[in-house]
Symmetry: C2
Subunit: 323 residues, 2 copies
């Protein structure tokens, strides 16, 4: 069974407020960090919303928790399921553990060990599949059929989008008068939530996305007016998915622009975040900051919020990136 | 000229309070992070005081700023100087920049490039020397003679010790009823300051030090009752110095125990901090947490503060440690 508010129902200001109250006991209000040296470098005032400090190490804890808490009790009792190679998997497993129900996670056999360990740590049951969308979907369909669990999609789900919107809502509540918020885009769950949060809670704030050039399907979708297929020629492995039919219309209407960045630019931005902010962020996470550094004149002198999405990295791989 | 309160004058509660007020405009009250998974692993309640988020990326900003602000105006005008391969160098250069005076930094030519860049970024003038204590001291003596600048020693200086004490003071003010505070020991500036802060502001708190087994001079000094020579057989390169005649007596009287840890234990602890807290810390910085993990029964069920001292790392080297 797929969960979702009817696609004709828009996400309202009230629904984001309700989601925030609903999930507050289970998530962190993450800190906002600043750096004088990064401000100088970028020529603007940067405010980094640190979702790498979020529960499970990523903003995904918000959407998963909101979706799980929104299920009717009897449905929830049968458990929740998803396919995810990453942070959403941990987020679903954690939500299930907190709510005392089972979770079933379909993961490609190539997924990082740290993420599998973490899912198991939350009591999630992992079903391995081949690393392609067809295998993920067919495996998940079997699992759902067998268990009666409810699928919670990583992004194409209104409750998930509403949950992700709470990150930008907190940022707006803490930092006044933001001219821009920049978020990364993969499937568009965070981006669409961010755009709606800005629309309702800070209408003067322009939302812009950063996207890897090696997987620029969202950029092309904005040009063509239809959902384009994704590629996977980028190191930013959290952003390889294409947009969904729920996220795309929200993004079309509420996101001003998508800036694409190369892998070299992503790694350079990630390195600056590690060195200057002293925090661990994922490659995907550095994409919005890379976008700001690439298109500096757009942001000169402005107040720019950046959503740092997650901090789950395989440290073995890091040395190679910085070598 | 060497600055110092007369060695017969003890550091008082009031002098730490005064130092804190003096430096507050120039330093961060750094956050205290916690992690459920690390608590479970260690079997106690851990409170990490994140001085890696401090200005210049380390607690050294506190002591340097306090020492510089404590100088008479006419003396300060001639500038400040030190020899340091690391964070104290940046801290002195930053203090000088803020106060509008010159800084002269003697650094071994082998010091990490990131630290040299940072010193220059604060307008500090670097004098390179050979990587040994004799060369450092003779080069510094020349610089001081030529410029009339005041030497501010990295740790064997009462104003520096008093400044470092403010980190533990903040931790005690934020987290109530700590049973232990664990800090690393190199020259003993942070450790002696931490011990005095606990003595004055939280007398029921026991202060323990972590020290690399490959440079266990402080451990041996506590046994023998005199300052022992340091070795340098450890990856924790911020902790290679021996104690000073100002830090040792304070440590003798106020530190209960020194726990030594191997490089393997240090790297494992550092990895846990990176992975679970999502922050960048130096090898030296992981030593106290390694000590807690090594001697678990001592801390079982207790409230344990840990001073995370700094986050300035050469990222190129990190991959090798985690490989």
């Amino acid at each position: 069974m797929v969960v979702g508010i009817s696609s004709t129902t828009m996400i309202t200001k009230q629904s984001i407020q309700d989601a925030h109250e609903r999930i507050k006991p289970y998530i962190q209000n993450t800190p906002v960090l600043t750096s004088e040296s990064l401000n100088e470098m970028a020529g603007c005032h940067l405010f980094f919303k640190c979702e790498n400090f979020q529960k499970v190490g990523a903003f995904k804890a918000r959407g998963a928790m909101n979706a799980a808490l929104s299920l009717p009790k009897d449905q929830l009792q049968k458990g929740i399921a998803t396919h995810s190679s990453g942070n959403h998997a941990q987020a679903i497993a954690r939500a299930a553990k907190i709510l005392g129900v089972k979770s079933y996670i379909v993961m490609p056999r190539t997924a990082p060990e740290i993420k599998k360990r973490s899912v198991r740590g939350y009591g999630g049951e992992i079903f391995e599949c081949e690393p392609n969308l067809a295998s993920r979907e067919s495996t998940l369909a079997e699992v759902v059929k067998k268990t009666g669990a409810t699928e919670i999609h990583p992004f194409n789900n209104y409750e998930v989008i509403t949950g992700q919107a709470t990150a930008a809502k907190e940022l707006i509540e803490e930092i006044s008068s933001l001219d821009f918020i920049v978020a990364p885009v993969g499937g568009g769950g965070l981006l669409s939530g961010t755009a709606l949060a800005a629309k309702y809670f800070s209408p003067q704030t322009t939302v812009i996305a950063g996207e890897p050039a090696g997987s620029d399907d969202a950029y092309r979708s904005m040009q063509s007016g239809k959902i384009e297929e994704a590629q996977s020629n980028t190191i930013a492995d959290g952003l390889l998915t294409k947009l969904g039919d729920k996220t795309f219309p929200i993004i079309q209407q509420n996101v001003k622009e998508i800036i694409t960045v190369t892998d070299e630019e992503i790694i350079a931005a990630m390195r600056l975040i590690w060195e200057r902010l002293k925090i661990i962020v994922e490659t995907s996470c550095a994409v919005p900051f890379a976008a700001v550094l690439k298109d500096k004149t757009k942001f000169t002198g402005k107040r720019v919020g950046i959503i740092l999405t997650g901090g789950n990295v395989d440290l073995e791989k890091v040395g190679k990136l910085f070598a």
